[in-house]
């Protein structure tokens, strides 16, 4: 089976969330993370985009979304793009 590169968009719970600390916990909790970038929205809110590689198999996309949603400070996490590597 192949691997899938996915890009997720993560929104913080509030503008007060420490984005630096959030990035750190993403890297530790989701070690498959290859890249993280800040995408400023507005009103003090900053979204994070992250690139992750997962196997092309059952449950793979859900597992990553779920893991990210459980992190402290995360309001929402969803896959916005994907492709086989």
């Amino acid at each position: 089976m192949g691997s899938v590169a996915i890009i997720l968009k993560i929104m913080p719970e509030s503008p007060e969330v420490d984005i630096g600390a959030l990035k750190e916990s993403i890297r530790t909790q989701v070690p498959e993370t290859r890249d993280i970038r800040e995408e400023p929205i507005g009103f003090g809110l900053v979204a994070l985009k992250i690139a992750v590689i997962v196997p092309d198999e059952a449950g793979a996309p859900d597992a990553v979304e779920q893991k990210l949603r459980e992190l402290e400070g995360v309001g929402s996490a969803e896959i916005v793009e994907l492709t086989l590597t």
């Binding site: 890009i7 290859r34 507005g42 009103f43 809110l45």
Partner: protein, 425 residues
Amino acid sequence: MATEKPHLNLAVIGHIDHGKSTTVGRLLFETGSVPPHIIENYRKEAESKGKGSFEFAWVMDNLKEERERGITIDIAHKRFDTDKYYFTIVDCPGHRDFVKNMITGASQADAALLVVAAPDGVMEQTKEHVFLARTLGINQLIIGINKMDAAKYDEKRYNEVKDQLSQLIKMVGYKPDDVHFIPMSAFKGTNISKHSEETHWYKGVTLLEALDTLKEPEKPTNLPLRLPIQDVYSISGIGTVPVGRVETGVMKKGMKVSFMPANKEGEVKSIEMHHEEQPEALPGDNVGFNVRGIGKGDVRRGDVCGPADAPPTVADEFTAQIVILHHPSALTVGYTPVFHCHTAQIACTFIELQKKLDPRSGQVKEENPTFLKTGDAAIVKIRPTRPMVIEKVKEIPQLGRFAIRDMGSTIAAGMCIDITPKQMR
């Protein structure tokens, strides 16, 4: 400059093992998009081994390895240039659990390249992917009849597969006369960038030529505003700030907007993106906006923002065309799985199974079937268990498609073809 060419997103679809990845690799190779050092290493390797036929597989393996090591947000997608366009490739995963993400995701494919192996013809996943392409709103299609080398470059076999495929695509609404069917071999490089002697009977375009016949998509700015809400914030000193991506239409400062199914109205006070105030937001923009007259508890994820004079449609019931991707047994009236449509996730009940469709003939196979199973395509009637915004795919395609999930796996994908609206006022 390459970057000044218009950009298209190309989805590559097809049955597993029909040569999707080889086709993608071949496109990159023939357009000079494989990094030079990989080609150089290949030359050395080929010289030392003295063989040419393993060439392609070798390039592909190395490319894959290198990509997985160095993937970033910018280069998650493979890219190549034709004379006219600059393409990024969405190489569709084989597992159906990714279908939901393709339907609710951000990057809409502008065209699909369907790869079908000539020796096999139409297979289960070919059928599934054609339905998905249509459901995803991909209106431009190119078909590569691949592995012609394994079918002795036989014109008769090409025509048989072409006929099968014409029936299949006609059923979901593509016009076979508008679609290029290219006999090719991605492995050998046949009819990719150059016409090949082996298929002297074929007078049509090569794959690269076919890609240049595609049309550039228009931004859906002429449709009414639809902005599905992703998150809602209450920000001190400012007020309620919903966040989301504009799917269609234009949001302007000062506009009177309506949120459905919340049934709340307000006025857009300001719009921000990239931490800067914007006079308007266009399709594809990820924005936060402050609305006068709306409290944080009034709207939530899954609501849709639209103009007050053309508010999003709330469905009491709707009719849909669906394809069952995977169901462990049989699906019957009364089944109530979760529908994922834009940012909404709502349990909906199948209240009528109207027609089962036959993908090979394009005809109705059965009126009022008693059940549906994996692989079936059907017209069904659905009733959401709570108010839900959905639009007819013919009117606002971006809000007319959905994925159906149950027990953590993707069951089906579909599009809304008719709606019995709920009166909200």
